[in-house]
Amino acid sequence: MKFALSPEHLDFGASIRKLFESGSTAAAVRAWSAGDPAPGRTLIEQLAAAGALGLTVTEEFGGLGAEPLDQIVAFVEVGRAAAPGPLVESAAAVPALLQALAASDPEPAQRWLPGISEGTLSATVGFAGRGGRAVAVDADRVDLVLVTDGERLSTGRVGEPVRSVDPARRLFVVEADELIAEGPQVVEASAAGFDSGALANAAQLLGAGTALLDASTDYVKQRKQFGRPIGEFQAIKQKLADVFIGLDLAEPMLYRAALTTATPNRARDTSAAAVACADAAYRAARAALQVHGAIGYTAEYDLSLWLTRVTALRSAWGTPDLHRGRVADALRAGPAADPSGALT
């Protein structure tokens, strides 16, 4: 039993963080929103070069065959940086979906996953469900759009744009184009893709929440009112302490979910992590805006990039209600069979 990130995980996370810190990520996010994807694409190429996009793609399909936990470590950093682009879709959801499908038909995985791992092919996916329609992020800027609808998996045709609360998330209605696969195996593959995306998304939320806490902490140390740094005031201290507690207790839920993706507890643990990370990030966002005051409410100040991102991600991969419902279903069904007596 060793329930903590290894030195290798920490080093890997630090290297991804450095990559985002060395460039001007905030400027790339703004450019991505404003219609210029070039700086964002440069960042994504750097991520691919660092091996972060093909982590959970098996070697058979040109990836690194790493553990889900490695991917989580990377996505915490993606969230911390509020990086732009369809990263959850390209690196987590689509690979999980296509690899789950590969048991019955390896062709789509062979066709697309090597490019995703190399960073030469970007992908997005829409899950039909929002009133029968599928919406996919950055569908106009990727090489591959997938649409899943019940037992059908298709490539997608880009339709009407949908405005997101986060300007850096460019949403489009996507419609089924060419059929790729059909049958019950698509339902399972689609669930695997969704859970992988929801988990990477939870990691992003945890990273974004941590960035918001860091920004708040720095700000209240230097911002003075009544002749004192506002971080001296108990009301501020107690608010930020609660943010810290929420993030610190959400983190192990995320790691556990990464350890149980191949068990019957996958949906339960993914959803529990999604709820814990979304709640913690949302609390961090509310507190951050409150302690920053009016400057935090401006779009000019970079804090806004995280505030709108957290708002968007909170429901992008399943609302808190959906995830609580999935946990509730698992709890009603009783504990999963666990003959080994292991702790998961």
Binding site: M1, K2, F3, T217, K221, K237, A241, P252, D321
Partner: protein, 379 residues
């Protein structure tokens, strides 16, 4: 990173589970804050001790079995899952014992620990005073030097278990000229000593879980000082971090409560989304705390220390405990008013954010020591 148990740990877990299945009383014991209940709990401590399960993490020579931190966490998980009786010895085992293992003399360990392990001596804490709650440095009770020992005077209050316990431990001001934190001495005294008067104080649940202790020139020999005279503050700090941290509120307690809550929810009628969400959040909270503890165990095994981090979990579990019980009362509906294990648990949970350093104090510790916010002029 993994959550896997090795074979010997699993074997230990199995042994504990089987012992509890065979020995936990079928009917809950009466409240330990009644005279009869106190003795029934003392007898349960002896049953545990005979199986070497009363103090599993202690060295073997004092009645333990050198269990690792992980084994202790699992022991607690099994203990609460089995609905085993509350530990009447907990103040001694979880608060005093870690301090004695760190600062006690060989003579003290030899004399005190085996009796504590068997429940022969049950210990009360005598921390608080009318003027000193979270601000322990405000202590006014005194220890005056005399031949071969010290003379204690003053008043302690809100002392858990003191109504029926055998011994107590606490801080006394031994150098009135010294600054607030200095000049305190950590002392033990028998509650039946000459000059000691104990007045039980009923708690919210009506039972005398608390007591006031009046000390009127009580003689205590030098052998009952813990650590060096006037160094009591430093000695006590190790205990206080233990109380907030791992040792007093093991995750097993909250996992068991969450499971009872899930059982209550699944057994009842469909109560709608709000109740569903509250039950789910209770389970998520108990899991978060359990898994967080495995992270702490890993860090401690790798040489880390439990410092201000214990403030994080203290705030978390104390609020989780209340919200889980509130949810249960909501699920019970009109029956919620009727006294039950849930109402008892609810009343007890209300003390969580108050004792072991109030949650406001804990949040300040987190903000100042972990986030690095300025201490400022007013607290």
């Amino acid at each position: 990173m993994d959550l896997d148990l090795d074979d010997s740990t699993r074997e230990f877990q199995r042994e504990v589970r089987e012992f509890l299945a065979a020995n936990v009383p079928a009917q809950p014991l009466p409240s330990m804050d009644t005279e009869a209940g106190f003795e029934a709990h003392r007898a349960w401590e002896r049953t545990l001790a005979e199986a070497r399960l009363s103090v599993v993490s202690w060295p073997r020579e004092f009645g333990g079995r050198d269990a690792s931190l992980l084994e202790w966490v699992l022991f607690e998980q099994e203990y609460y899952a089995a609905s085993a009786p509350g530990r009447v010895s907990q103040n001694g085992i979880f608060l005093l014992a870690p301090t004695l293992f760190e600062h006690g003399t060989p003579e003290q360990l030899e004399r005190i620990m085996p009796r504590m392990a068997r429940g022969d001596d049950i210990w009360a804490q005598a921390w608080s005073e009318p003027e000193a709650g979270s601000d322990l440095a405000g202590i006014r009770s005194t220890a005056r030097r005399t031949d071969g020992g010290w003379v204690l005077s003053g008043q302690k209050t809100w002392s858990s278990r003191a109504a029926f316990a055998d011994w107590a431990f606490g801080l006394f001001r031994s150098d009135p000229a010294a600054e607030r934190h200095r000049g305190l001495t950590y002392l033990m005294f028998p509650l039946d000593a000459e000059g000691v008067t104990v007045r039980p104080i009923p708690q919210l649940d009506g039972e005398p879980g608390f007591a006031e202790i009046f000390l009127d020139d009580v003689f205590v020999p030098d052998t009952d000082v813990i650590g060096a005279p006037n160094e009591g503050w430093r000695v006590a700090m190790s205990t206080s971090s233990n109380e907030r941290g791992l040792s007093l509120r093991s995750p097993g307690r909250f996992s068991a409560t969450a499971q009872r809550l899930i059982d209550l929810w699944t057994a009842g009628a469909d109560t709608g989304t709000a109740a569903r969400d509250a039950v789910v959040d209770a389970w998520i909270g108990s899991e978060a705390y359990r898994l967080h503890t495995f992270g702490t165990v890993t860090r401690l095994n790798e040489g880390g220390k439990l410092g201000a981090e214990s403030s994080i979990t203290k705030v978390f579990w104390s609020e989780l405990d209340i919200s889980m019980h509130e949810t249960a009362l909501d699920l019970l509906g009109a029956e919620a008013e009727e006294a039950s294990r849930w109402t008892d648990g609810y009343l007890f949970s209300l003390s969580g954010p108050i004792y072991a350093g109030t949650n406001e104090i804990q949040r300040n510790i987190i903000a100042e020591r972990l986030l690095g916010l300025p201490r400022g002029s007013s607290r």
